[in-house]
Subunit: 339 residues, 2 copies
DNA sequence: CTGTTAGCGCGTTCAC
DNA sequence: GTGAACGCGCTAACAG
């Protein structure tokens, strides 16, 4: 068995008794090629098992048909599903996807973006890291099309985001509707605009109801435990419900409650971001899910437009969350509704 | 602002008053270049903001410095962490990673492999889909190095696998040690060798203890519910413990128990594959975790060796699982140990 | 140590 | 409708 080399377009041309450029035209789609010649080419291709060399083509045309995706990580349903959807869409449209993660570190993010740029991807879908310096990112990217996913990247960059304000507001109002006297919001320590919007939504709902907004920022598990337990167990106006602002916060809160031996069933709870195991804990977690597939499709379509040269003004899509009502909010029966 | 074109190696050569190949040599690492010239080149590079064109280089040298990773999906800790680790290792070694998923479908798997081949990746780390036709896969791949990850791909392909037999055996023995009279194994419907090995381990442990092995294969939720509840609630020798053979099975089992209103605390439970939320359910789930980082590193190193031409005989690495003892097995205090 | 030359495989003028 | 020639940016030979 020899190291048989891949056939090139020239091999095909010879075998079919035509010029290389004719093969090229035919391979690339219904350009004007006589039926007879087309047939000969087809045969030659099948015989040799020819496949166009992507590298050479990319080098020549300056497009790679590759999209970069940069996520913080992929260990949750939201990102996992989004990735799957993006890949599917990409495949359908003749693109392949290069996934990178930045682990929420701005520095790594820069490296990964540089790597994507080196790979000459035609466009990028990214979830900006928490401490992202927007100008820095844009400078690095040059004129590679980008769409910000789930988090904003300044008003000049296309984005698809959750209606964060509304999500948090409705979640809060829902809790309020269950007669919770005092709701604490637990937030992540990141300076992210979506988190800020969520906080605003929460605050607005609370103040409209004449209640006092109270937020605990989770920096570290020990500190969270102290503050959260204090809030829930103090004598004077203890908190009776929790609004968790994100996936990782929910994880931390659940750990904390467990450590403090506070039963989830004794309090109200809603978490923004859906959890795969929401149904397995007691009581089942009510969450505000981000529609990941919809996010992904929107982002992909937007990017696709940009890669084919669309020069419209930046588009900012805002999508509604889905209230997944289970039991931790206080409801008796499960249901879901789009906001 | 014009569409300024990227500087090429020739631009650099001119600016530094040297030949293109000298620049090439210098750029690529400590080849013999005079200090004086090296300095001039550095300056030119910095001034022009030159970056080598990966595509052109790859076309020329026939290597892309890209690795393909093909997973069923990424929505769980095991695959998520493995991916992260592989990417990190890759970055350190100057590779970039192209991640694809096959959703456990053999057909999609073939497509994705074809796509990886088109991208001319230097090597592939893959988790073969359940119904994989090994010969078909190998034929498609040609002589691209491959390492099978978490599941075997025939004895001719490098692999890194869990010691599945041992894992299941010890898990079963542990349950037995808690005086469970009757343990059912619940398995996934896939014809995967690791699942078979796990079953064998379970069976061996049961028979050694003079017990009867009983397996339920999860095809569909309705059917699982019927069979599992029957096993747990029958009068004559009801099952008192469950051994779940994989991540997805555990998810299904937990759902089922919930639907049947059977409290996890009433029975014994161990699941192979760790769950992110193991601590959040009651009682906390005892699991047999696959050391994902270790898996990933081993697979990467093996592949790296192959990409640089190692022609040794196929290597099959077997790694020990980690018993993550929490409470569902019957233990009072948490601990973990490597098998 | 350095520069010149010749492709890697393909798409694209531009004549025919 | 078709083929010949050129070049995308880079590296590997080879002279010098």
């Amino acid at each position: 068995m020899k190291e048989t080399k891949r056939p090139t377009i020239i091999d095909v041309a010879h075998a079919a008794n035509v010029g290389a450029s004719t093969v090229s035209r035919h391979v690339r789609g219904g350009k004007s090629v006589s039926p007879e010649v087309a047939r000969r080419i087809e045969i030659a291709i099948a015989q040799l098992g020819y496949e166009p060399n992507t590298l050479a083509r990319s080098l020549r045309v300056g497009r790679t048909q590759t999209l970069g995706v940069l996520f913080p990580h992929v260990n949750n349903v939201f990102f996992g599903n989004a990735l799957r959807t993006i890949q599917t869409e990409a495949r359908i449209n003749g693109f392949t996807v290069m996934l990178l993660t930045h682990q929420e570190e701005a520095k790594l993010q820069q490296e990964q973006l540089a790597s994507l740029k080196r790979s000459q991807v035609d466009g990028i879908i990214m979830v900006p890291a928490a401490e992202t310096n927007v100008a820095q990112v844009r400078a690095l990217l040059g004129n590679t099309p980008v769409v910000a996913f789930d988090r904003s990247l300044g008003s000049a960059v296309d984005s698809v985001l959750l209606d964060n304000y509304r999500a948090a507001r409705e979640a809060t109002e829902h809790l309020l509707g269950h007669r919770h006297s005092h709701i604490v919001a637990v937030n992540a320590p990141y300076k992210l605009q979506p988190l800020q919007s969520r906080f605003n939504g929460y605050k607005e709902a609370m103040e409209t109801a004449g209640k006092h907004a109270e937020t605990i920022v989770w920096h570290e598990s020990e500190q969270l435990r102290k503050e959260l337990c204090a809030a829930l167990q103090r004598k004077r106006e203890p908190a009776t419900a929790i609004l968790s602002m994100s996936y990782s916060v929910t994880l931390a809160v659940l750990s904390t409650l467990r450590e403090c031996h506070i039963a989830l069933s004794k309090i109200g709870f809603i978490g923004i971001d859906d959890m795969e195991f929401a149904n397995f804990i007691h009581p089942p977690l009510t969450t505000l899910a981000q529609p990941s597939e919809q996010f992904a499709r929107l982002a992909f379509q937007q990017l696709l437009g940009r890669t084919s040269g669309s020069k419209e003004k930046p588009v900012h899509v805002v999508v509604a969350g889905n209230m997944m009502i289970r039991s931790s909010c206080g409801c008796k029966s499960a249901s879901s509704r789009s906001l």
